[in-house]
Symmetry: C2
Subunit: 325 residues, 2 copies
Amino acid sequence: VAVYTDVSAEELADFIAGYDIGALRSVKGIAEGVENSNYLIQTEAGNYILTLYERRVAEADLPFFLGLMDHLAARGIPCPVPVRDRRGEALGRLCGRPAAIITFLDGVIAREPGPQHCAALGRAMARLHEAGADFTLTRANALSIDGWQTLAATCAPKADQVQAGLAEIITEELADLKSLWPEGLPAGIIHADLFPDNVFFLGDALTGLIDFYFSCNDYLAYDLAVCLNAWCFDGRHRFSPAHARALIAGYQEVRALTAGERAALPVLARGAALRFLLTRLYDKLHHVDGALVRPKDPLEYLARLTFHRTVEDAGVYGLEDGGNG
Amino acid sequence: VAVYTDVSAEELADFIAGYDIGALRSVKGIAEGVENSNYLIQTEAGNYILTLYERRVAEADLPFFLGLMDHLAARGIPCPVPVRDRRGEALGRLCGRPAAIITFLDGVIAREPGPQHCAALGRAMARLHEAGADFTLTRANALSIDGWQTLAATCAPKADQVQAGLAEIITEELADLKSLWPEGLPAGIIHADLFPDNVFFLGDALTGLIDFYFSCNDYLAYDLAVCLNAWCFDGRHRFSPAHARALIAGYQEVRALTAGERAALPVLARGAALRFLLTRLYDKLHHVDGALVRPKDPLEYLARLTFHRTVEDAGVYGLEDGGNG
């Protein structure tokens, strides 16, 4: 839940007048996305999402994010499209903040996703990877292994407040990952945050991928590793082989994993678990009392990390031996 | 900002299947109303608000609130209408809570209302009072003078933490109000919480009155006194005669105040100021760190109370002498 900036109807009406989307009929602050202020606006032309970018999103990255949504939507990926104002600009300013209006996507999130949701997600993610291949802007993944090291250094002194021994686990894992991290895997545009909150369905059909504000260039299989963590554990943090098998099979219907990617998957999954462990730990340790965001539990990702450390080969995730890598 | 209960798409789809409003297309938790969880849901039939009633609303009062909305809407008041399920019930259960689906109203709140908004509000409020005359259910105002005494007793020991001397001011004001409170004024259904957050406009036209969860039977002029507090002070808590004059003139276009109501207005305005001072004080003193609701400042209503104590007759609010009471 996060709505940070209060926009008055008067300011909003002025802002919207710069677009060719008719007059404002309604605006509701919505609990979607934790980094920005989001409003569902209804105008004479239909439904839109208005996003005000708050301090955690670097303004210099916005042309990448908005350009990427444009690029992917034009290639059939079901993602929001930035609406251009009368001057042709996708990025405006409102209440002193960078702001954009994007199209509204139907669909609801799957709070308890089944294998059929994972299969649809895998297919959509692989299509996203293929559609991103000719996108010309690039953005480094600020939350890859170097970024984890910075986060770990910031959090380590207080990590044991959350769980005794956590600082040592993080330090060891980071050292392991530095030596094990793969090189030369297929890379390109990834979403990097395809959690269930960011994927819409109507029934079993995937209708939307949203929240591209962590998207970047990195190993394609790292996106899959994020989803193994985010979609393939149950409410008690137990790994679900059926979910993982469906996710990977869906992905490979569109794009076959290489042998290198298959071999690297357990290490990539450990890295992704550590990434969310660290960012959640950071948010918990730096949580301001009374802030509107309730911090998520970092230990959910310690449980996942612990599991991935036991995985000796990607067969555990439902990958068959052999293949076409 | 308040969304307390997380409803899964699956639970929601099951719930909606009990209504004749088509399949779910989208659901967004919205930041509207502080007492309940509210969702904007879009179905094949249109837009609706789903409300889950949290602990601050007494379940026994829900038939009154929902019945009142039905009654008022049938008489042309622009308020939400509870949607009945296939069994004819307006009140259901979802996630273990009482829940209702109500119609969606277009419009936006006026964050900086002008006199024209106040005039429209006055007219709508008077129409609401007239339309409520033949509503057969009744509900006592739990937040009238007896309720204030209970709140004051709870808050007094800690009130000086918020401002030195506040406990004494509250005690004195309560004693004054008990001796000054009018008797025998015209009474009936009032909204009791017609703050700008609860009134929608498109341009200067009033399109909606929402959030009837404090509505009750009380002096009609007390509703006007609440609005004098909520709409007729600027951002620096200075009284605006132009706003008050427009509010009362708008009201009297529909329903003329009696002589007794006119004479009582300054005392009713003090009472309304004390009511919001006390409830905000209670919320601030009982605020749970990390809760999703940011407490409002009680001292904004101390400033209003201090102003109303200087008012010797209702002429200050823009009421002309004489009239038809």
